[in-house]
Symmetry: C2
Subunit: 241 residues, 2 copies
DNA sequence: TAGATTGTTAATCGATTAACAATC
DNA sequence: TAGATTGTTAATCGATTAACAATC
C-alpha cells in the first residue's frame, strides 16, 4: 500500500496462457502486470477528472504528467488494455476511460461489506470514493452489542454473529476488514468460509488465506515507517564517496 | 498503499554513493531498495510479535513464513541492514529487531500532525498502531469551526488557520493528510512551506510536491479496484490455450 | 504533404530466486 | 566432527525507459 508500496500479497489469479496477440473487444482477458494494474487505476481517476472538466481528448504526454508517470510507462500500460488511441491525435477521454474500467472489471457489480464499525470502519462506510467508483457498501458489522443497530451513513450496524447470513442475503462479494489485529484472522476465516474471495485488510497482521482468495493489505503504520526511513536518510547526508 | 503496492511515488532521498562494503555499527547508512524497506517493516512487526510471545531466537525460515515471504528474500533483505545472525543458529529476536529499527530510522523522534478531523482523521488519531511504533501524534487540524476544539483521543482539534504556528510549536516533522481531494493540494503546499518534508496522503488526488519532499499516498478506492481486477479474472476462466 | 503522437521493440535496470560456500 | 543455517553470489525474472517505425 504499498505501500502500501502499500503492501500487496497473496493475490493469486488464474494465470495460464500468455496470449501474445492483443485481443480487443469482448474476448478473453490477458494478464496485466501487477504494477500496471495499480497505475491503470490512477489513469482512470485522472481521466475522470478530465471528463468532469469537460476535456474530450488527451495525449499520453499530458495524461502521464497528470498521473505522475513517464509517457513511456503510460503507453506501455495502456497497451496491455488494448489500443484505443489515434496516432498523431491522442486519446478520447471517455472512450479510454470506459475501456480501462472494463479491463479492470469495474463494470461488475461489486458489493462491499465492512467488518468493524469503529472509527476506521465508519470512516470507510461513509467514504464517498467507494460509491462514486462503483463499489456499493451493503453492510457493516460489529461484535459490540452497544454498536449493533447504530446508524452509519445509509446503513445500520449488523451483529457480527449474523455475518454469514447477512453476507449471503446482501450478496456481498468483497469484504473490508477494519478491526483489531487479534481478531482479524478468525474473522477472515469466517469470511472466506462464507464464500467471499476478495478481502481488503486494514488490520496490522499477516493474514493466512487459502489459495484462490485475493487478499490485499493496507497498513498505515507501515506507511509512516517507510516515510521515516526516507526522512532519516534525507537528514543524514551521505558520507560515502 | 500502497500500495498499497500501495501506490508509492516521488520519494526522493539523497543517493550519491553506493558503498559496496556492508558497513555496520554507527557509520554511514547505505541505500536500501524500496521493496526491501517495505518488507523490513513487516519483519519488524513479526519480530515484535515474537518478542511479546517470549520467543528469543528465530531462523530465517520461520521469520520468513510469519512474514509471508521466501527465506531467500528475507535473508537478502536483512543483508542490506547488516549481518546480525549466527550461522547454524539463527537470529536473536530482540537484537535483530533493534537493528532493523535503527536502519529504518525509527529511533528518531517522529511527531505526526493530522490534517482533517473527519471520520478518517479521527480514526488515525486514535489508531493505537502509531503510538506503539514510536510515532507521536501531536496535533490534529480542521477548518470547520464546529469541529475545532473538540476532543479526539488525547488531543483537541486545532484550527487549520493556525496550522503553521501549531506545527512549529509542536515540532511536528510528519503530516498525514486526511481531507477531501479538492483542498488537498492547497493544504499540502502550506505544509511544505511550513517546513515539513514527510507527508502521507489519504486524499484521492495526485499531489505535486517539490523535490526533496517525501510523499506517500494511500488510496482505499484504488485498493478495491485492484482487488476487483483480480476477482474478475478469477471469475472469468482463461480462454486462451 | 508535414507535423504529431501512438503502439511496440529492444536495451536497461532492478528485484527475486536458487544454490552453496562460509561458519557456527 | 556432523548438522544447521546464515550471508552472498550468480542466474532468472519482471519492470522501466528510450527510441522509433507506423500512421493519423
Amino acid at each position: 500500500m504499498t505501500s502500501l508500496d502499500s503492501t500487496p500479497q497473496a493475490v493469486q489469479g488464474a494465470e495460464t496462457g500468455h496470449s501474445t496477440q492483443p485481443v480487443h473487444g469482448t474476448e478473453a482477458a490477458k494478464q496485466i502486470p501487477p504494477a500496471a494494474v495499480a497505475r491503470l487505476t490512477i489513469y482512470l481517476r485522472a481521466l475522470n477528472t478530465l471528463l468532469s472538466d469537460g476535456v474530450e481528448r488527451v495525449s499520453s504526454e499530458s495524461l502521464a504528467e497528470a498521473s505522475g508517470v513517464s509517457s513511456s510507462t503510460l503507453r506501455k500500460d495502456l497497451s496491455y488494455v488494448g489500443s484505443y488511441g489515434t496516432r498523431g491525435v491522442g486519446y478520447e477521454v471517455q472512450y479510454l476511460s470506459r475501456h480501462i474500467s472494463a479491463a479492470l472489471g469495474l463494470t461488475h457489480d461489486w458489493k462491499v461489506a465492512i467488518v468493524g464499525a469503529g472509527n476506521l470502519g465508519k470512516a470507510l462506510a461513509r467514504y464517498g470514493g467507494f460509491e462514486s467508483r462503483g463499489f456499493d457498501v451493503v453492510a457493516i458489522f460489529d461484535a459490540d452489542q452497544m454498536v449493533v443497530g447504530n446508524e452509519v451513513g445509509w446503513l445500520r450496524v449488523s451483529d457480527a454473529a449474523d455475518m454469514e447470513a447477512v453476507l449471503q442475503r446482501t450478496g456481498a462479494n468483497m469484504v473490508v476488514l477494519a478491526l483489531p489485529a487479534h481478531v482479524a484472522q478468525a474473522v477472515c476465516d469466517r469470511v472466506v468460509a462464507a464464500g467471499v474471495h476478495s478481502i481488503l485488510s486494514f488490520a496490522p497482521v499477516m493474514l493466512q488465506v487459502p489459495e484462490g482468495v485475493n487478499l490485499r493489505k493496507v497498513d498505515m503504520a507501515t506507511e509512516l515507517q517507510i516515510l521515516a526511513y526516507h526522512a532519516q536518510r534525507a537528514q543524514t547526508p551521505d558520507q560515502t564517496a
